[in-house]
Structure formats: C-alpha cells, structure tokens
C-alpha cells in the first residue's frame, strides 16, 4: 500500500531468534527502528530516510508525530509477519555527561549557578584549549568517559518494551516550555552520533544543530516558523578521510551547487549511494556509507523549511557559507543580524546542552 520495500540482513532474517540490544540516548532510538533501519539495506532505508519523510516528521523525536517512525513501524510489522522473532532489550541512561567532580563538571552546570571555582575552572579550560591544536582538543574531549548510569533495562517484545523506554526517556528529558520564540540559540558540543573518535565536519554540524537539537521538541518547535536559529560552533573545514570520504565529495561537489534538500535528493543521492568506491570503503574500511551525508542533510530539512535564517557564531566563514548559513563573529552580531528577519525586540530562548533536554512546547 505504501510501496515500501523491506530488506534486512540475511543472517538476522534467518535466525531463530534475533536479540537486539539498544541504548536509547534519545527518544528517537529503539522500537521497530532498531531492526527496520539498523539492519536494513539502502533499498529499504530510502523509503523513510528521505526529504519528504523528514519534513513530515514533527518531530522525529516524538514517535507518534514522526513519519519516519510510522514507516519504520509498518516495516517492523512486515518483518514480524515474515516470522522474524525479535527479543528486544532496551536501556536508558541518565544525563550525567560530565559528572559532579573534576574540571569538566562545570560544563553541565547552569551558568547562573557557577561558583567562583567553576568560573576559574572554565576560564582556565578556555584559555588552555585556545592554545592547543584542534586534534589535541578533540583527543582531550573524546577521551573523557561520561559517568553515565543505567536508569532502566526493559526486555521482551518490541512494542511494549519501547513504550516503557519512551516513558523513561520522556521522564528524564521533557521540559515544559510556554510558547515559541523568535530566536533560538544553542551551543553545539564537540560530539554527535557520527564523529566518535573522529572529526565533526561541517555537515555533521548542520545535522547536530538543525537535525538533532532543532527536533528536540514535542508539540511545536521551540522557535516559531520564520524564526532564527543561532548556533555556536567553530565549524572547521575539516573532514576525516577514513570515516567520512563521501562527506568530502558531498561538501565539495553537491553543496557547492545547491543546499536545497529536494534538489540534492533528486540529483545526487543515487549516484553516491551506488558508488562502487564508497561501497568498497563502507564494506572493507571504516567509512560511513556513500549516502550517509545525504541523510545528514535530510535530517535538517524540516528545520531548513521552518527557519527564516540560520547563523553560526564563531564558525569558519567559508565553511558556514558553503552550508548556506550566515557566519557571525559574536553572539551580539548574530542578534543584530537576526533582527533583520524577526524584527526588533525579539524573544530569545536558549537550548542548553548537556544535559539532553526535550522541549514540550505548549
């Protein structure tokens, strides 16, 4: 009826029992998406990892309002009907990214609750990091082990397990917010799901800000339609050649031509997805799939459609321009630039991370 092809890993499909163990860091994870996306082929994934689906997932962090999840749930039922038995184990963890002690702990505290010691630690850290190379800075932060603790482990059939998991995630992440704002500000961290021990390239910056963080809402987006998103990130023109080879070509060839997700999807996706060299690197090396940067871009397509302007504070000007955004040197400049879009005396909301927060916008 929906014309969706369902194709998963042969070994998984033929097993007597498939045990799927998942960590649900955010509410997007888990459920039928684990199998229907996690073990599926490009032929199958493309039915929900596309611009139309993402623009109709409002948001993809809220399963019941997410076209992405509706499609995955349909596919999950097909997989179950085909006789694949899945024993789902889902876990949730607390939001303790930087712990209560040590120099990093200041990063998880509310700024207005910083003590004198916190401020000295922060200034020292800031000044120290400024004097280090980007690779050393990455090494320092990526070597940090978050003292996460498990908050729930639920096992059994996919759907009832996932309902419990979702509740645990929402219990922890949901924060009620009254009304939408004109300007949404956010500070992007050094890591996203796709640069563990790797470089956060400009496409991942876009995906983290406009994909993940923008979609951390239930009900309505935090920022009004036509509003402005201001994110802070250095956005270096830097890529990991082993992990993200297709990203380099996507940035150089595709984004140099257009940033419109629909045009990108129609014109370039198939070529990248079926490229033999990217397939070879994906299968035999440590590379993400050739189509992966496209999905990263689609992840932000709902935000691109919704927002009036995106401004990156402190970003590499050339890289930010290539993304189709505006670069600002300071937050004050960014507010001035935003007033051209949203008018004078705008309302401003800041999305603080960590911890992971999901806005329940009324």
């Amino acid at each position: 009826m929906h014309g969706e092809e369902v194709e998963i890993n042969k070994r998984a499909a033929e097993s007597d029992l498939l045990v799927y163990v998942n960590i649900n860091i955010v509410s997007m994870d888990g459920g039928h998406k684990s199998t229907a996306t996690g073990l599926a082929s490009y032929r199958s994934i493309k039915h929900h990892h596309n611009v139309h689906t993402m623009q109709h997932s409002k948001s993809f962090m809220d399963r019941h309002s997410s076209e992405l999840h509706h499609s995955n749930w349909r596919m999950g039922k097909v997989i179950a009907d085909a006789g694949v038995k899945v024993f789902q184990i889902e876990t949730t963890i607390n939001n303790d990214t930087f712990g209560q002690d040590g120099p990093m702990s200041v990063l998880a505290k509310r700024e207005w609750e910083w003590s004198g010691k916190d401020r000295v630690t922060f200034i020292g850290m800031q000044q120290g990091l400024k004097r280090l190379s980007s690779s050393t800075r990455r090494k320092i932060f990526q070597n940090h082990r978050a003292p996460y603790a498990v908050t729930s482990v639920t096992a059994g059939a996919i759907e009832p397990v996932h309902e419990v998991t979702l509740q645990r995630c929402f219990d922890q992440h949901l924060v009620e917010v009254e009304g939408q704002t004109d300007i949404l500000t956010m500070g992007l961290p050094y890591i996203c799901p796709y640069n563990v021990n790797s470089i956060m390239n400009p496409i991942l910056v876009m995906c983290l800000g406009l994909g993940y963080f923008f979609n951390m809402y239930r009900g309505k987006p935090l920022v009004r339609e036509g509003g402005v998103l201001i994110m802070t990130h250095p956005t270096p023109w830097e890529f990991h050649p082993v992990h993200h080879p297709s990203y380099i070509d996507f940035f150089e060839q595709v984004l140099a031509e257009t940033t419109d997700p629909k045009v990108i999807e129609a014109t370039y996706e198939k070529r990248f997805a079926e490229d033999d060299w990217y397939r070879h690197l994906y299968r035999t090396s440590y590379a993400y799939h050739g189509v992966h940067p496209f999905y990263m871009w689609y992840w932000g397509s709902h935000a691109l459609q919704h927002l009036g302007r995106v401004i990156v504070v402190g970003g590499d000007v050339r890289a930010v321009k290539r993304l189709g955004f505006k670069a600002a040197s300071t937050l004050q400049d960014a507010f001035e630039m935003a007033e051209d879009v949203v008018g004078p005396r705008p309302t401003i909301t800041h999305l603080k991370n960590p911890p992971i927060v999901m806005a329940d916008v009324k």
């Binding site: 700024e111 207005w112 609750e113 004198g116 401020r119 922060f122 200034i123």
Partner: protein, 322 residues
C-alpha cells in the same frame, strides 16, 4: 642639570602612562561573565542558596597536607609564642599521658577563647599536630572568614549546640577512627562568671562509640586573662593540669562517663588550687569541690571563687618591688 631633566622626563612619562593605564575599578566594572559573577535570568526562580556555613561547613580541606603544614607553622611559630607570652602556662601531669597510645579525647573546662589555643599548644606530641577541635558552629562558623580561620588554625569542626544532629557526631567519630585526637569543652560554652557548667554527654558518647580514652584536663587562669565579654587580654599566669586517661567500662552509659569526666576535671581543679595529696584525700572522701560552685547568689559565688584561688606561697612576693 642634565640628570635632573632626565628624571623629570621619566617622571612625566610615568605619569602619562599611569593616566592612560586602565584603572582596576574600570576594569572590574567592564568585566563580564565569567570574569564577573553570573546573574540569574529573570524567568528562573533561583535555588535557595546552599548552606555552606554553620553546621554545614566542610572543613575537610583543613586536614589536607598544605593546610597541615600551614597549621604546623601557625601553631609553633605564632600560637605557642603568643600563648607563652600572654598566659605563661605551667603544664602539669604530662607524665600521666606516658602510656597514652593512639587517639584520645581531651576534655577540659572552658573559661576563655584562649582555652583552645592553650590546650592545643600544651598537648604532647604526637597529639599536638594530629588534633582537631570541636567548636561551636553558631559562633566559630557563622561567617566565611571565621570558619576558614577556625578550620585552618584550630583544625576545628562545627558542632551544633542548639540542635541535635548526627552530622557533627558522625564527622567527629570518623576523624577519631582515622587516628585524630580531639579537643572538646563539654560544658558547651565559656563560663560567664568563672564557675563551670555541668558537662554534656558528647565527649563521653564519642569515647564509647569510638573506643578511645578521655583525658580530663583542667585549665586555670585563662578566665582572668580573657574572660567572656572582654576583647582585650590582660597577661597572666595559667596552669594546665592533665589527668589520667579515663576509659569507658563495659556497658557504661555516656552520661555516667560524662559524670566521671566532670568529677576528674573537678579533682584536677582542686589539685591546681591546693596540692596533689590534699586533692586526692578530698577525692577519696568524696569531698572534691564542684566545678559549678555553690548554688547561691551572685556575690556569694564570686566570693567563693576568689576564696578558691591558690594562696601565694610564703616564698612568693606579697608586694611589688617599687
């Protein structure tokens, strides 16, 4: 002439440079977060400030190595000479501590702010530098400056006088278990008139809980140097008398031990104002004068207090040399 011109030029240049240099007040006014303390957003209800003073003061930093070195220098370099000059202490009964092994609780009567310093500087090694003081939370830990000074100089921990709480007792017990000796004034405050208050059960409770001996100590003379209500000390003589360590007997309750400690300190007071033999005879007969004095009018208590003072010996001078 040439030199003077050079100096004038240099002075002028320095004046100009000083005028151009940013003034500390201006720099402070321009400073923004994080150089300046943060402000709470208007839409946020600020959390109640975390209580970090009084009984909540965490003095753990004062037992780390840098603070211990600083306290060693303060005790030996400042406190001992000052106490020696101001109180001219005569220390008696140290031989009774010869067999004391491990941590102990030193429980003394309390007349003056000098008492803690006098007692700590009178302690024999190793207790002198491995000791903490139980200090009134409402007096010594009510401001950050006083709390820091008390923790650094006396290695004090806050003890709640006005309410019952486990926190103080747990902290003191943990330190005793870790090998620290304790200085405590079981009366719970300084004497207002020279006579003592009944001993409270805290020291006895800790001695039983941690299985450590209690050393009764009597301090005489500090009430005349710096009594309660006075801020300027008058130099004088003091006597510090250590008693034999008391160990709780099997099944002994803390109030019974507290009574024994009070009696032991009273006997030491008697010894300080008379002599050891007479004091022992009175103790054996159960006639040791109490620390709390006669239950009578103020003038009568004051009279009794002066009568208690040790009579000058025949060899001591009765009149100043003019």
């Amino acid at each position: 002439m040439v030199d003077r011109k050079g100096i004038e030029k240099a002075a002028l240049a320095a004046q100009r440079a000083w005028a151009k240099a940013p003034k500390p007040r201006e720099v402070a006014a321009k400073a923004e977060f994080p150089l300046r303390a943060p402000s709470t957003p208007l839409t946020v209800t600020p959390k109640p400030a975390e209580q970090k003073l009084l009984g909540h003061y965490d003095s753990a930093w004062a037992r780390r190595l840098p603070a211990r070195y600083a306290r060693f220098l303060a005790t030996e370099g400042i406190m001992r000479p000052v106490i020696a000059g101001l109180a001219q202490p005569e220390r008696r009964g140290l031989d009774r501590l010869a067999d004391l092994d491990g941590p102990a609780i030193f429980a003394a009567n309390h007349h003056s702010h000098l008492d803690a310093g006098l007692l700590i500087t009178s302690l024999p090694e190793p207790h002198r530098h491995q000791v903490f003081a139980a200090a009134a939370a409402d007096y010594f830990f009510d401001t950050r400056v006083k709390a820091t000074a008390s923790a650094l100089v006396l290695n004090a921990i806050p003890i709640e006088r006005s309410k019952v709480g486990r926190r103080s007792a747990d902290q003191a017990a943990a330190l005793l278990d870790a090998g620290w000796s304790m200085v405590i004034f079981p009366e719970g405050g300084r004497s207002p008139d020279g006579w003592g208050h009944p001993f409270r059960g805290g020291a006895a409770y800790l001695a039983i809980r941690c299985g450590v001996p209690v050393v009764p100590v009597h301090l005489a003379g500090t009430g005349r140097i710096l009594p309660k209500g006075k801020s300027k000390p008058t130099p004088g003589r003091t006597v510090v008398t250590f008693g034999a360590p008391l160990v709780a007997t099997d099944g002994e309750r803390s109030q019974a031990l507290a009574d024994r400690i009070e009696q032991a300190v009273a006997a030491l007071a008697d010894e300080a104002t008379s002599d050891w033999y007479s004091a022992r005879r009175r103790a054996a007969a159960g006639e040791t004068p109490t620390l709390t004095g006669p239950q009578a009018g103020a003038w009568r208590r004051t009279w009794a207090l002066t009568a208690n003072r040790k009579k000058p010996s025949a060899t001591s001078k009765r009149w100043p040399e003019l």
